[in-house]
């Protein structure tokens, strides 16, 4: 009777890999669906725990639109054990997924508002799960600015999407790179340098930010200069994470868990958390 | 063929690095060397200036295979130097650990290093498929021996509980019960081993050379742990007087010192012990010896592995006896002195029979417990000169064979002694402070 089988919040469901694309040297985009056929049912900004038995688990954001129910997509940067093993997978492969977990960008609250959507590097994929539904229902929102910074032109993700979004009415896509190369004729500098080109109705503006830890502080400073209300600023934070369901303690920031109370936080709340940014 | 020039670089299936160099022209032996090329480690030097309690930690690392032997000899030497008298409980438990190590080392040698030669394989790896049952039995036996070491010493290699004055912890009763059951069950495996050996024993070359044998003696026991330094040639001497028996010297072709007694090479190890003490073997072991053709003194060095199997029987039975004692008497922490060692200046020598023979650890400490002198004499070092003497006797008898066969036979001869070369290459001359 000792070790009986049972249900478990840690038991993943099986998914099948439908397709893989490799937009950059380090990143691959994985399109998968649950073998059970159930839709993931995520909101913008949520993530799943990806599980490869024998290797481990890692939290990965969903980069496809919540409106897409046939499959979902994840963009994975090859940085370690699990992500490395994921990069070796080929279509047809089966692995485990738990989720979706975490909080979402409040898309309904954003209705009718001007939006500044700021992404740095691998922050673009999670933001894409917000941008896609915004673009899909464009007239529900005011002006949209998409600000994206990458280290170098080679590392720009979702080029086609960026180009297409730039074509949408009332939408401005601004890109910059830290270091340019011979192919690059655009902005060079950190993402905050793009703010000079942003013109919004400040009291009616919502902001979403996803990027590397270092980016938040500087973007917040720009927003303060602009005068955007803290209540209108949302940011997705990243922490080490083992369980995704508020148990393992790794992702705790002050009294919140990034996996349950985040990853999307309202800045007016996050600013009181001494460890947040 | 009466001329050979043999150079075996890095003899395999021995512990440590050594070469064989033999040259004979027209039946005349010109060069005959066992070259020890293991990198020197200067253990005796490392000990100087350190504290008494470190000697055992450091010297047990001389050798992975006989670390319990080094541990035992080291604490014995240190206790004799500082006048520490451990309890009977401590002595007995140490001997149980030593039995575990002799069993594990002998099994390793017989099954993993020698058996492939006799079964015509280059190593135990192919035997895993051709002789699966033998390999499984070997692993089972070795595991049991290891578990004895683990239960008492706290670790399979480099024991950690065995200290000057006593033990830092005792095995649990359940562990002892388990070990005893498995030791009893292992009698069957030992019988099978004897049978196996019997079926291949005829492959052992029939070569004999008389030599002096040196081992601990302590009638009426087949001794490993205490007693006098006995010899087939001279009178016994006390461990503290070992220098009157054993002379060490350096030779140009070896990183290990060679030893002699009365100017002649001599032999230590399982066969030497058998030759000196066989009358004191318990009946079970005597019977096995007789079955395997060992009926009293034996001058054939290839019979080392036979003597080892006989000792396995002896040690397994002695281990059972010791376990029975502890199951009966239990362990009394009050009889353990490892936390109350009093430091005192002095000089003393430990002499213990480890798998490969007699091992000496001599220490001198000052009144603060600082080590000011150390001399370690390793069994393999003592056997090196004897192996060369065996070469000299053996090579002329095999000159008619082809080169590969000669190489194999010479390697088998070296391997028979189960040399432990990293042990032997520990040394450094020490300036004694008188």
């Amino acid at each position: 009777m000792a070790a009986a089988a049972g249900s478990s919040i840690y038991l993943p469901e099986s998914v099948t890999l439908l397709g893989v694309e490799q937009p950059t040297e380090l990143e691959k985009v994985f399109r998968v669906k649950f073998d059970s056929g159930r839709p993931l049912g995520h909101g913008p900004g949520q993530f799943v725990q990806v599980s490869l038995f024998g290797i481990g688990e890692a939290p990965i954001s969903i980069c496809s639109s919540p409106c897409e129910t046939d499959y979902f997509e994840m963009t994975v940067r090859n940085v370690g054990m699990l992500t490395n093993a994921m990069h070796k997978l080929t279509p047809g492969a089966k692995f485990g997924v738990r989720g979706p977990f975490g909080t979402t960008f409040p898309i309904d609250e954003m209705e009718g508002k001007d939006l500044i959507l700021v992404a740095g590097g691998i922050g673009l994929p999670p933001l894409r799960s917000l941008i896609l539904p915004v673009m899909g229902d464009r007239e529900r929102f005011g002006k949209v600015y998409i600000l994206f910074g990458a280290k170098s032109p080679k590392e720009i993700l979702f080029r086609e999407d960026l180009a297409a979004w730039g074509q949408a009415p009332n939408t401005t896509v601004l890109q910059t790179v830290d270091r340019g190369d011979e192919t690059w004729g655009g902005n060079v500098g950190v993402v905050t340098t793009l703010f000079s080109q942003v013109q919004v109705d400040v009291p009616n503006t919502y902001v979403a930010i996803v990027g590397p830890p270092i980016m938040y502080k500087f973007v917040i400073m720009e927003l303060a200069k602009l005068g955007v209300a803290n209540e209108h600023v949302f940011m997705s934070l990243e922490r080490r994470m083992k369980c995704g369901v508020g148990k393992c303690g790794h992702c705790q920031i002050n009294n919140v868990c990034v996996c349950m109370d985040g990853p999307v936080f309202r800045y007016s709340e996050a600013r009181h958390m001494t460890e947040a940014i | 063929m009466s001329s050979v020039d043999v150079f075996v670089e890095n003899i395999t299936r021995v512990e440590g690095h050594g070469n064989i160099r033999v040259r004979a022209t027209d039946g005349k032996l010109e060069v005959c060397q066992l070259q020890i090329t293991e990198s020197p480690r200067y253990y005796e030097q490392l000990l100087l200036g350190r504290k008494w309690y470190d000697a055992v930690h450091i010297t047990c690392r001389i050798c992975g295979i006989c670390s319990i032997g080094h541990t035992t000899s080291s604490i014995q030497g240190m206790e004799r130097a500082m006048g520490v008298e451990p309890s009977d409980q401590t002595h007995k438990l140490r001997q149980l650990a030593l039995m575990g190590e002799i069993l594990q080392s002998h099994y390793l040698h017989v099954y993993f290093l020698v058996a492939p030669d006799l079964l015509g394989a280059p190593s135990v790896v192919p035997l895993a498929t051709t002789h699966t049952e033998v390999v499984k039995m070997a692993l089972r036996q070795k595991r049991l021996a290891n578990d004895i070491c683990y239960a008492i010493g706290g670790r399979h290699i480099h024991p950690l509980t065995i200290r000057v004055g006593g033990f830092t912890s005792f095995p649990k009763e359940a562990e002892l019960v388990d070990l005893k059951e498995r030791l009893i069950a292992s009698r069957k495996d030992l019988e099978a081993t004897v049978e196996l050996l019997l079926s291949v024993a005829h492959k052992l070359p029939a070569f004999e050379r008389e030599c002096e044998c040196v081992a601990l003696t302590n009638p009426p026991r087949y001794e490993f742990y205490s007693g006098m330094i006995g010899s087939t040639v001279t009178d016994p001497v006390a461990p503290n007087d070992y220098r009157s028996k054993v002379i060490e010297r350096t030779v140009p072709h070896s990183h290990a010192k060679f030893c002699s007694s009365n100017g002649e090479p001599y032999q230590v190890g399982a066969l030497a012990r058998y030759n000196l003490n066989h009358v004191y073997l318990r009946p079970e072991a005597k019977a096995v010896a007789a079955t395997l053709g060992l009926n009293g003194p034996c001058a054939n060095p290839f019979f080392f592995s036979i003597a080892q199997v006989v000792e396995c029987v002896e040690c397994a039975e002695y281990a059972i006896e010791l376990i029975d004692h502890f199951l009966d008497a239990g362990f009394d922490p009050a009889l353990d002195g490892h936390r109350d060692v009093k430091v005192q200046a002095g000089c003393g020598t430990g002499a213990v029979e480890v798998p490969r023979g007699l091992l000496f650890h001599e220490y001198e400490v000052d009144d603060e417990g600082t080590i000011v002198g150390a001399n370690l004499i390793i069994p393999t070092g003592q056997n090196l000169a004897n192996i060369e003497a065996d070469f000299a006797g053996f090579v002329p008898t095999i000159l008619d064979k082809d080169r590969a066969q000669i190489e194999l036979l010479l390697e088998m001869l070296v391997r028979a002694y189960d040399p432990c070369i990293s042990c032997a290459t520990h040394m450094l001359k020490v300036e004694w402070v008188d």
């Binding site: - | 990198s39 993993f112 290093l113 895993a128 706290g154 290699i157 350096t250």
Partner: protein
């Protein structure tokens, strides 16, 4: 294709290779998962190509140095196996007793007298990574069987083995061990030593001697002060640091009492 593995021993006691032979229960599984093509201590067959090289022992002679460079040229993965290879181990004690060329010449002369000419020159004893790049490290004197098996498993499944960047105290606690410092004031190296051994020494009432090597970010000053508070003389604390960690102290610039 099974990966091929070769074992090499340099300056050491060969106890770590023995640790592999001591995985009696798993040995047959290991042999069916990897092809051991060279293992002088246990095998006569040998090969000059291999994927994984297990290196035991320190690099302590010019000859050792030559040999390890050759191996690096062949092996895809080099595993520093045991304290001698991983951190210099006990061999490095001699580094702390002298360092100039004369010192080693002297050692050699003392050891072998004027006949020493045929022998290798000894040099400073160094861990493998001081001479060639190392891919994986299994420290310990001897290596822990469990960790050894875990590393083999990791290599087979393509996972990075755990690195144990925390001290031995963690494993003491996991084992519900009575701390020998807290209970007896003994000189334990656990708080500054890399875990992974299962805190086997304190578990049996002994102290940790630091055989798995000092942690890169250990709080050495606080540790030494703590040991001194328990009545340990500075010289003995110094010797303790210089037992398994003479090379490591030099490498990390650890101040000693």
């Amino acid at each position: 294709m099974k990966p091929t593995a070769a074992f090499f021993s340099f300056t050491g006691c060969e106890g770590c290779q023995l640790a592999l032979l001591e995985c009696e229960d798993e040995l047959l599984d290991i042999l069916s998962a990897i092809d051991v093509v060279k293992f002088r201590e246990a095998m006569s067959e040998t090969s000059d190509t291999y994927d994984i090289a297990f290196i035991e022992g320190s690099i302590s002679t010019p000859h050792d140095e030559e040999k390890i460079k050759k191996i690096r040229g062949v092996a895809k993965v080099i595993i520093a196996f045991g304290a001698c290879a991983a951190t210099g181990g006990l061999n490095a004690i001699r580094n702390s007793m002298g360092s100039d060329e004369d010192y080693y010449e002297n050692l050699r002369e003392q050891a072998y007298g004027p006949v020493g000419v045929e022998h290798f020159r000894s040099t400073k004893a160094r861990p493998v990574h001081a001479v060639v790049p190392v891919d994986l490290t299994i420290p310990g004197c001897p290596v822990d069987r469990g960790q050894l098996l875990e590393v083999i498993e990791s290599v087979l499944v393509g996972r990075t083995p755990r690195q144990f960047n925390h001290p031995v105290c963690v494993e003491c606690k996991l084992n519900d061990t009575v701390c020998v410092v807290e209970a007896y004031g003994q000189m334990c190296m656990g708080p500054v030593t890399r875990a992974g051994c299962g805190a086997i020494c304190p578990g049996r009432g002994d102290t940790c001697e630091g055989c798995r090597g000092l942690l890169p970010d250990g709080n050495f000053a606080s540790h030494q002060q703590m040991l001194a508070e328990h009545g340990n003389p500075p010289e003995e604390i110094r010797l303790r640091y210089l037992m398994f960690n003479a090379y490591r102290c030099e490498e990390l610039g650890v101040p000693l009492p």
